[in-house]
Symmetry: C2
Subunit: 98 residues, 2 copies
């Protein structure tokens, strides 16, 4: 199984809180940074700053996403790499569901 | 039962997305604004901007909270009023759990 986000990319994903319902991660990164392949359970991503991202799954599928501060995105369980394609530092909160 | 947040305070709570796992609300308000009494299921609050809040439950208990942009807070099911006690506009995302 692909590694958990915090284990695969601890420089990018920091755990803010965890209980029996959720695990909340802070995502921070510099423009151009690309994580190793990692997995997330179903989660809601909330952008704290405007940002652009490229997600690439193991089979090579790419999805580009642009999030404005305050936007939220729901994603089902996924395994991918994340690249910060915007010009500013990324700051996103992930609310992972258990 | 106390009204749902979106029904009790539609000027403050706007639904961003909903599925079978979560309902995501945007919370926006001016300094000094206080909502009617309303309820939330268990949820994660994520601050998009720095903000200060006072929550008052039906029995008069008050909790003051200060959140920095990017901070996250987990709250169990609650019925309360919310007052924006900071000096700037509030902007928070709530990820309500089903």
């Amino acid at each position: 199984m692909t590694a958990d986000a915090v284990k695969a990319a601890p420089e990018t994903y920091k755990m803010l809180l965890e209980n029996d319902r959720v695990r909340v991660l802070e995502v921070r990164g510099k423009p151009g940074f690309k994580t190793a392949m990692h997995s997330h359970p179903a989660h809601v991503a909330v952008a704290i700053r405007d940002g652009k991202f490229r997600f690439t799954t193991a089979d090579g599928q790419r999805v580009d996403a642009e999030l404005k501060a305050g936007q939220a995105l729901y994603l089902d369980r996924v395994e991918h790499t994340t690249e910060i394609t915007g010009t500013g530092d990324a700051h996103v909160i992930l609310v992972e569901l258990k």
